[in-house]
Amino acid sequence: MSHPHRPPNSPAASDHRWQDLLFFGPVSKKTSNKRALTPRLLAIFGLLLVCINPPLLTIFNQAGSVWGFPVLYLYIFAVWMVVIVALARVVHKYLKTDDRDSE
């Protein structure tokens, strides 16, 4: 009996990659290194840039309120919070405290 080997681009394998990209999946020890950090940070930057600028912003630019908060106000704070959580997760996952410092 042999263990079933997944081809590298089977759906399950790419799921894992997606999770990595979205910063919520389990990341194996082997992939946590500093090299993986920069593209993820750039991705967060790009996402935030797009989310808080028109045309995406125009979708939420409307009068009215959700749960008592103005829509636009709520939207921006929600995006903001998500970015903070994503940054914290990514940075702490890919940067270890013992990184060498020159001083």
């Binding site: 009068a63 309120s65 959580v85």
Partner: protein
């Protein structure tokens, strides 16, 4: 109400507390327990970004323009993911190059250009002074509001009646005592950073407390405020952005605050120059955006609350944070609000003036002074004092300049507009600075052109209108344009009419700035010094280890000259220290060496740069030593060489490490092999010994039989029986040894079928009944009915049970012995237990008795009868069945051997394949 005494007391008390904190921080640093290397302190110190502008101005902005104020905080948040990329590089560059100011950074990148360093300093001063003025204005008007009886700020009378004048003076004295230490040995201001971090906590807490009291005390929560605001058309308008003007403003304000966060002198000071550990960015990257989010949560509610409470519009929205608590007669809260605003303003003023005063001395004054050789020689011994005095004078001058701006220009403008103009000013450094960090092609001329052009357009489109607004310039200019040329109108520059003033100014200034930087850079050739610096800046991560060895200098100088220079500017003690450190690092003997090599010159330059700035140090060395231009080729070769050395070294280290590891592994394997070999020897000798005993018996008896053919029948039968018994014993031993060998080498094949263990037990017991009767042992069989089946090799299971039974029989005393055999089902497995009341097994050997080696090694102790291999065989059989075997025993009271096998899951047929 007259709070004058209270307010003054609180403000002075607060300043004293700051001073004490700074002093404490400095002390700790001297003892090597720096607080600044703490990531939380670092993240908090970045919050010097939030000034009185945030504290009062955001609310004012929100009350008039809705949520647009958020761009100023979203901008820095947007940069946060890039800190690890950009800020870390800037930090590393500053550390390697011993850079002390923002102007140093830009001028160093473009070949230590003095002209650039003047230019950057001028732009910074002109751009930041209004911003400082803004803080003074905020302190002044909050002071007025708190001490007067009206909620509307009174315009001050003459300067000696103006409270902000006195505040300026007090702050000036405070900062001088606080920030300009005697000729700093290091470039860091530990005390300042600690105080600023503390102020960040104060303003955040104050704002959150005031915000929640207003939201939940004066109103009934967020929902209530927003609901009430929605009923008023004037406020409802603020819920959304104007699609045409609002979005372009939004975008450009985001851009400008992104750049401002990185390039404001105070931000550069705390984020880059005062950074002690690059890894502190790790926490700051998310903590700082979190700080910004928290401090902004209550801005819009307070703004709406203010508009709802003062519907007439006679109360300035910039003061809502103070006037709302006062209106509700909560004076304690108002005082807290004042304190928060005061801390926000003072932290900005402290860091900005210290950074700017350094910039003026290091990048303008000192280079000018040391630029002429005779002057240097005359000033030399007083140099330290001159440097400190100049920094102090700078601080006072900056504050006075800010005060004048505040009195004559700023009063007619709201807080945020002035702040944004400052932001736009420092954004002009973006192309030269960021470009310089990533593009090797950028040249000094390009950087100069970019900054000059950007600065001029900034002044024309953003500053000029404020002068017109305060009546210092003719109104005509705005409508007809400069010299009556209509495309030179400040708000419609080059005929661009669709953008609102701020976006318009930022766009045009950055557009021409970037254009000039790139275009001029392409058409000019960088000097070799510039190329050298570009290489070192852009590849800083590659060279930062090698830089000490690299050479950016060529010329002739003696050690004595360097020594004199250091003594003149840094004092005798410090220069001794520096030279000793150098000698130790590079193994140099000063008595033997008279000619200063490039390493020493570089080292001295960097040490001088720490206390007087990089530009100054460069000028000083250039005027006192004979210098030759170094070609780019030489620089590259040297860098490559040292880089190569570093990497070769590393490779060697890695290889020897690998070798060491390999030999260790080999040694370990060898030791293991030796031990195994020894055990094998023991095993063989024991087995042969075991064989020899029966063999000797058989031989002796056969000889007797052969020698005495006339032996009596009964005796003969006796001998023959013994012979048969002994051969059987030998046979058993041999088959057991073979069995073990098979199992250990994995050749044992199992014929697994579904079996009922109870049946196997009963059969085994039956075949044993004779022996038990002979020895008069009591046997109790206690089997649980309806056990689930197991998949196992029947013969092997029989072997296990027989082994355990015979073991038990061996150890009990005939006549009193008792053996109990039990089977039961628990936790998905079937367990069989054989207990006896023999002499038991000592606890220390209980875990060892299943080891074949152990048994033979301790033959004499353990084994009275038999080969002793039985338990080892049992264990191997059970392991092959995914089962286990263990023993519990109290010496003197008997032993209980148990084994467990996983039960066959119900409903699945057995798989009779041989494994």
């Amino acid at each position: 109400m007259n709070n004058l005494g209270w307010v003054i007391g609180f403000s002075l008390g607060y300043l004293t507390l700051l001073f004490a904190l700074a002093w404490w921080g400095e002390r700790r640093a001297q003892r090597g327990r720096s607080l600044v290397s703490n990531p939380y302190v670092y993240a908090l110190s970045l919050a010097v970004y939030c000034t009185a502008w945030t504290y009062y101005g955001s609310v004012g902005r929100a009350a008039n323009n809705g949520i647009e104020f958020l761009t100023i905080y979203l901008g820095p948040t947007l940069t946060a993911p890039l800190w690890w990329i950009i800020l870390r590089k800037a930090i590393r560059i500053c550390r390697v190059q011993r850079i002390t100011t923002l102007a140093d950074f830009i001028s160093a990148r473009y070949g230590q250009s003095l002209r650039l360093s003047y230019l950057v300093t001028i732009v910074c001063v002109l751009g930041i002074v209004p911003y400082i003025a803004l803080q003074l204005k905020a302190i002044g008007s909050s002071f007025e509001i708190l001490t007067s009886s009206s909620l509307v700020a009174q315009s001050a009378g003459t300067w000696y009646q103006d409270s902000s004048f006195y505040i300026t003076l007090v702050l000036g004295v405070f900062i001088i005592v606080f920030g300009s230490k005697p000729l700093d040995v290091t470039r860091n201001h530990e005390g300042m950073v600690v105080a600023v971090a503390f102020e960040s906590i104060v303003k955040l807490v104050a704002f959150l407390v005031v915000g929640s009291v207003i939201t939940f005390g004066l109103f009934r929560g967020f929902g209530d405020i927003f609901q009430q605001a929605q009923t008023q058309p004037a406020l409802q308008r603020l819920f959304v952005m104007d699609e045409e003007v609002g979005f372009s403003r939004w975008f450009w304000m985001l851009m400008v605050s992104m750049f401002a966060f990185l390039l404001l002198p105070r931000q550069f000071q705390v984020a880059v120059l005062e950074n002690r550990k690059e890894s502190n960015l790790r926490k700051a990257i998310w903590l700082f955006p979190l700080y910004l989010l928290l401090i902004n949560i209550f801005v819009l509610p307070i703004a709406f609350a203010g508009r709802l409470t003062f519907p007439l519009g006679n109360v300035d929205a910039d003061t809502f944070v103070l006037t709302l608590p006062l209106w509700a007669d909560r004076e304690g809260l108002a005082l807290l609000a004042y304190l928060g605003g005061f801390s926000a303003a003072t932290s900005m003023i402290i860091v900005s003036t210290i950074a700017l005063s350094r910039m003026i001395s290091h990048n303008v004054l000192v280079p000018y002074l040391v630029g002429s050789k005779p002057l240097t020689q005359r000033l030399g011994n007083y140099f330290g004092r001159i440097l400190i005095a100049s920094r102090r004078v700078n601080i006072i001058l900056l504050l006075l300049l800010a005060y004048l701006y505040h009195r004559f220009v700023a009063s007619s403008y709201s807080l945020v507009s002035i702040g944004l103009i400052s932001f736009a000013a420092v954004a002009q450094f973006a192309p030269a600075l960021l470009g310089g960090m990533y593009w090797k092609g950028g040249t000094k001329q390009g950087a100069t052109a970019g900054i000059v052009v950007g600065f001029l357009i900034w002044g024309f489109t953003l500053v000029l209108p404020t002068l017109v607004g305060s009546g210092l310039m003719a109104e005509r200019l705005m409508e007809e344009g400069l010299w009556g040329i209509s495309i030179l109108r400040p708000y419609q520059f080059l005929g661009l009419q669709t953008m609102e003033p701020l976006a318009h100014g930022v766009f045009w200034s950055l557009f021409w700035n970037l254009g000039a930087y790139v275009a001029v850079s392409i058409f000019t050739m960088p000097s070799s010094k510039e190329q050298n610096q570009a290489e070192v800046f852009i590849e800083v991560f590659k060279y930062s280890e090698a830089y000490d060895i690299s050479i950016g200098w060529k010329g002739r100088a003696t050690v004595d000259e360097i020594r004199r220079l250091l003594e003149q500017f840094l004092g005798h003690a410090r220069s001794q220290e520096i030279l000793a450190a150098f000698a130790q690092t590079y193994q140099v003997d000063w008595n033997a060496q008279t000619v200063a090599d490039a390493r020493l010159v570089n080292y001295a330059e960097r040490m001088l740069a720490e206390s007087m700035g990089r530009a100054s140090a460069r000028v000083l060395l250039a005027t006192t030593l004979k210098e030759e231009e170094i070609t780019l080729e030489e620089v590259h070769n040297l860098l490559r060489e040292s880089q190569h050395l570093v990497s070769v070294n590393q490779e060697l280290r890695q290889k020897s490490e690998a070798l060491r590891e390999a030999s260790e592994a080999l040694q370990q394997a060898n030791a293991e092999l030796k031990m195994l070999d020894g055990r094998k020897d023991d095993f063989i000798s024991t087995v042969t010994h075991e064989m020899r005993t029966p063999l000797t018996g058989i031989r002796a008896m056969s000889e007797i039989l052969a020698d005495n053919p006339d032996l009596e029948g009964e005796e003969r039968d006796n001998f023959l029986h013994t012979i048969i018994g002994e051969t059987e014993r030998m046979n058993r031993l041999i088959s057991q040894v073979l069995d073990l060998e098979k199992m250990d080498s994995g050749k044992m094949s199992l014929h697994k079928t579904r079996i009922q263990l109870n049946e196997v037990i009963r059969e085994a017991v039956e075949s044993f009944i004779q022996v038990i009767k002979e020895k008069e042992i009591a046997l109790q069989v206690d089997l649980q009915g309806s056990l689930p089946p197991v998949v196992a090799d029947r013969d092997r299971m029989t072997q296990v049970i027989l082994n355990l039974l015979s073991n038990a029989v061996k150890f009990v005393e005939p006549g009193v012995g008792k053996i109990v055999i039990t089977s039961y089902f628990i936790d998905g497995e079937i367990r069989v237990r054989v207990s006896d009341n023999g002499k038991g097994i000592a606890p220390e050997i209980q875990s060892l008795i299943f080891d074949k080696f152990y048994q033979v090694e301790n033959q004499t102790v353990r084994k009275p009868i038999g080969s002793g291999l039985g338990l080892a065989i049992c264990q191997r059989i059970l392991l092959r069945h995914q089962g286990r075997i263990w023993v519990e025993s109290t010496p003197g009271e008997g032993a209980r051997f148990s084994f467990a096998l996983p039960a066959e899951p119900i409903g699945r047929p057995a798989n009779p394949t041989a494994l």
